[in-house]
Symmetry: C5
Subunit: 371 residues, 5 copies
């Protein structure tokens, strides 16, 4: 913490705040709505397609480079979860869209990665966007990745921007066949994925919370500009977090409140549970924001406290020695007729007088609690 | 108050703010929803089960270590209140759940102790979470404990994290058979328990209010950093209080407004009364928050006031003696031709002049109200 | 205003802010809801019961010590208004409650004097709580008294905490038989009482408004800590005012919007009028709060302005004399070879140089508008 | 602007802020609701009644001192607009009320001039209150005047507090018979009057906006207390403006949304247009409030900037000369054995050393950008 | 950035903030509602009318000076988009209005260019106002232009204040016949235009975001008043942006939620998509506002940090040399009996003592972290 290597603003190390809020790569002019263009950073080297097929008593996993091959297999069996890592190959998304008759705007939303979290019901399929977040400890920054789910009767497609996700526990549960997950429908799988994403927010809240408390303790001791910058930086990161979480409440509310044909009542109860978690995350985010602005207040107090201390020292020194110097100056004058100068005990008397004056001032300062 | 032993941040003395908002012990990866894992600190040494059976004209109390034995007895009679202290033995909750056909998510919520206050109607049973708060005077901290109620036709289960609660008055009323409590149903008992919890909030508000007024008075006299830290600390504790109380309004509103089969109209009137109390608590919390931020403003004013005083003293001393020293300095110069030096009355004249100058300045300062 | 006798915090002079928001005397443990215990300060020495009986063409007044006697008479005639001053004799409230079949929770609310303003319809009677406020000029504090109205077909019971109220004009109107008041029902009497209470708020707003403008003017001249404390104190008193007024809007809205059997359409129009007044009061309270926080900003500005002035004086004096002292110091040195010392016009030349330097600096300060 | 004659607080020049929000002249005690008492300042010397009668192809204007005469004529013809300037003669309002069967509370509202803007439908007549504002450039203050409209099938009564209004353009349009105004009903006339009032707000916004930008520019150059006071004053005037405008939105919304028998669909479209203007005014008021609080921030920044400058000058002078004075002081000591004193080049060497020291410091200050 | 030529307030360079919010050119008095007067700056030299006629398999473009000629052609074919640049020729708008039977208030709204964004359904035509924004990099200012759309069954009229717009991509798509745009109705064209306008907001957000981050970095290094002024200026520009965007959400919500006869379900889905974008813009604007006010906090921190540094330097220098000067002063006194003066090693001893004192102070400062 104390190493001065912390630099959240190293050129290129981080996209800017607004850059993380709205995507910079606008669609080229002349392209209409529904035109499929990937408008985000290319975060994966190659597209990886993973298929998990399962039923109450079996599970099959496979990796594909080619979406067609995957779709052919997926269609054949009962429940399929196709996970696509990497969005820069537009063809993959397009193929999926054509195969299942997904609306063009859905495909466009999957590809433009600065969407708000939302849920849209298209009758035979459901489209859900959530934000998968992670906290980069090196730069104290929140990294956001868009996860789009297309949920049909017997399939779930999940699209991610890069490899690596928080879904491993879900895969593990599918593999082990524990609990209900293998015997339920696609809505339950979608729920499980969303639940995992929301659960991962709690971890970020904890890390940020710890970081703030750490900074807060330092800020009272030594309120440096660097600390302020770090607190300020965290405050801005909370804006990212907040933007990801707020719409989620509405999204999940829609999923469990509105009667959607693809979502069973039973799964609805589970979605209400995730909704409660999202509300808890939102409240904690708001609390954290208050804590952070409290930390900035502490910084200001710490600074003005130090200023006070500096001023006090200056005042004490100056107030004691300036009058004493004056007395010394008086007896340094060259007037011919200064009777005191020739008095034998005048010099020690003056020294005593000076000592008493200084002592009296120190006593006055102590009474005023300046010492 | 003046002893410097106050340390709200002693290592290990208190869980961090965020730690008290979201529970740190996440469920291990690979466990699905509905998997029963206790995700809170183990706050009780052993699980204690207390059963109170009662009807209009009898009451029976018993303590159990084994939940099965308790359930066998509970089933046999009319109204039973089973209170479980300690959540770390998951089996107890599970046994209760199986016995009464409680939804898995309810059981999960009972065990994860960072839930928001809520009420859920499952037809034949009702699930209510409230937060029992206490204020630790040693650390000025609010301790929160989750109380879960499962209310059925003829039973109330209450789960607490640790021993010791605010329910003793309810037990006493049951024992004495005073009022209506023994002749009414399980909804009235649930109401009585919630009422007791909400009433206990008022005590906390009072204690916090007193503490703030105490700090406020000190802050104007001697605005030390420690006082600021304490006010700041209280402000953060109010976040905990607020988080506990806000959702309660909604919870109680649901209980008395929505038509729930288990809640009679008569009890609804009582629940409206608790609802009114909860609203009163919320308003007082908000007022307290304003009072606290007013105290921080006072701190800043106190600090800048002191700074002012320090500056004034410095300015008065410096402004009086710096010019005087200059005059002394002039007559300390060694020029050969300084006619004043040989004038007999020059020295006393200069002293008089200096005295007049100093007096004039003091008079000017007084006019400017700096003295 | 300038006398330093103003002490809003003299021990015992005032209950604390929070003490005025939540009542300190909690019901003793073991008492259930509906148990009648007076939970407020005993503000009246003895209970005083005043009965006014009236019809379109007659009016009768009487005072009673015993509620039974009063009730016997009240029942016999057409319209009765029973006003009870002092709540500490629980028996009075209980007797009224039994006589008219009032709900136990209503009786409990009458006795616990930290209720929010509210209106509850119990079919054959209506229960209304409003807050009667007064402003104590000696301590700049708002005193709040709970007024509970129980309105039946042919009676209005009003309960107050202490003697003295704002209802005298209503009594006068009843006595004089002017206007419609005597020929209308109990709902109109209740309206008249509430109207009087709300009207009295305007007076408080005016007094507080005047007080703030007075403080504001002083604050710019001499921003003392005492002024700040007074402004701060008024800001807190506004919290009390606000708490009393906000729920009133809802209360009155309920009374005229919801169809209550006891309230005629005609009276509804009058209640809408009071509702408008309440809204006006709320808006003025919010404006006052802004004005007060503006006054605190002015205080801070006044302080920093004074600091500025102090600093300017210090800087001017120091900046002029420190260099001059240096020059004097140079020619006070005892080097053997300092040719200037023996030049005849050196001393006056130096004095002139010093004068010019000082003048130049003064001119520079004037240009910078420091003088 | 620079003249110091600006005094918004000259005694008697302006009613106080709160005085302009709630009317000071309370009705005397003992007067019931519906009692007609004028509760505002008497702003007109005598009551002036102007009648404009018109139809599609004629127009007639007349002035009356006596309301009876006016009413007799008004009744006779088709469309009448009666404008009353001055409210202190209660008889006028009463006569109108009796003639048309207007509700007593409406008459009371007309006379008490601190009402909020509102619209009330009484079946055969409609009652509308709007606030006519003007900006007094001499005192930077907003003057508010209550305009009450009573709209019937074939008449519009408008009551104003004083002579002079913004309705001249409407009269001109009536006289010239341009557009639809003469061929439409009373609702359209009422719309035209309200529209004119709302349009006049835009002018005030502009003037206030200009004033603020003017102050803002000055504040950065010379942040004087007077400027702050003026900004602060404008901020408070905005409270008046805001209070007048906010309820207007609701009022106009009611007029065009609720189905009122007196308002035709066609006029409803026009009222929606005024409603849009009112919303625009509200948004601009809110923006102005933000701009004003931005100006106060600028003031604080300007002040702290000046403080900085002052401190820098002090520091530079003190930091350069204090050490130099010390060196001069050293060689002013009278020790017998100070070998340097007799060295021939010691004095010039010291001077050079002093010059180099001062130069070095200046260079250091320049590097720190203090110069 | 570093050049001091930046002047957002150059006289005449920019209309004032409020001037951009409410239009200054009020309609002359005596003109009724529905009177067509252009109330904005004349921003185009001459009016330019461009007609694009298209169907699934053809497209025709033409430019007209005369609206009649244009309208004659437009009527003849299937889908027409008439774009009018420049509003100062009222006749053009009037002619269009008469030709298609557009409501007078719509025409008035087209001409008064300070309208809020809105959508109004008039049965056979739809009226939509949106704000086209651009960011002027030279003055850091947002320029706003009102775009009005009148959408009928087979035509779209778009009115702009000046030449140059963001609609070129739409024209290109029409020319190339790519996608659905040519085969869909007028509602889809209107959607395409609105979509283009909303998309252009993202660009502004990015530019403003970059600008703020740039300023923020500078502010920590050298917090000059100019930087503050620029941040302050951006904060005010955000008010303009916000005013343009907020009503848009409502506008678009109306368009896709309310069942308007002219809007097909299919286009409704696209409008929901633009609505989502508008919400995203609003959220980003709010985030930007927070970032800007964070930047102002940073400025204040930067300033107080510098002040601190200045004070520290002053204190260190003064605290070291003032006592030393005192000692020098003491031995500069002219008392006859000062035994130290004749001690041989007194002078070097004093120098050593002074050095030690200075060293000790430096060490103390280092311990306090002032160095």
């Amino acid at each position: 913490m104390k190493d001065s290597h912390w630099r959240p603003r190293v050129a290129g190390a981080l996209p800017s705040l607004i850059g993380r809020m709205v995507s910079r790569q606008q669609k080229p002019p002349g392209t209409g709505p529904g035109t499929l263009v990937h408008t985000g950073d290319r975060k994966a080297e190659s597209v990886l397609i993973r298929l998990i097929e399962y039923g109450p008593d079996f599970i099959d996993e496979g990796q594909f480079e080619d979406i067609k091959a995957c779709l052919d297999i997926a269609r054949a069996r009962t429940m399929s979860w196709v996970n696509v890592d990497g969005l820069h190959e537009v063809g993959v998304v397009e193929a999926v869209g054509e195969y299942f008759g997904v609306h063009r705007l859905v495909l466009e939303d999957i590809l433009s990665t600065s969407q708000r979290s939302k849920a849209e019901d298209y009758g035979d399929h459901l489209f859900v966007i959530v934000k998968m977040l992670s906290f980069d400890l090196a730069t104290d920054s929140i990294l956001s990745e868009q996860v789009s789910l297309v949920v049909g009767e017997s399939f779930v497609f999940s699209f991610q921007e890069r490899r690596g996700d928080v879904f491993e526990p879900v895969r593990e549960r599918l593999r082990q066949g524990k609990g209900r997950i293998r015997s339920r429908g696609s809505d339950y799988l979608a729920y499980a994925l969303i639940d995992t994403v929301v659960d991962s927010y709690f971890h970020i809240l904890e890390v940020v919370g710890d970081r703030i408390e750490e900074l807060e303790e330092q800020v009272l001791e030594t309120p440096t500009l660097e600390l302020l910058e770090r607190i300020h930086h965290l405050r801005r990161e909370m804006l990212i977090l907040r933007r990801a979480v707020w719409p989620l409440r509405e999204t999940l509310g829609q999923l469990y409140r509105e009667e959607m044909p693809l979502i069973t009542t039973e799964t609805g109860i589970f979605l209400r549970d995730v909704h409660d978690h999202a509300v808890q995350v939102i409240e904690t985010v708001e609390s954290l924001r208050e804590v952070i602005s409290g930390a900035m207040d502490l910084y200001m107090s710490g600074v003005s406290n130090r200023m006070n201390e500096v001023m006090r020292v200056l005042t004490i020194i100056a107030t004691i020695f300036i009058p004493l110097s004056f007395f010394a100056g008086v007896y340094g004058m060259n007037f011919q007729y200064m009777p005191e100068l020739s008095v034998r005990w005048a010099y020690p008397a003056l020294l005593v007088f000076m000592g008493v004056t200084a002592g009296g001032m120190l006593w006055a300062f102590r009474r005023k609690r300046w010492l």
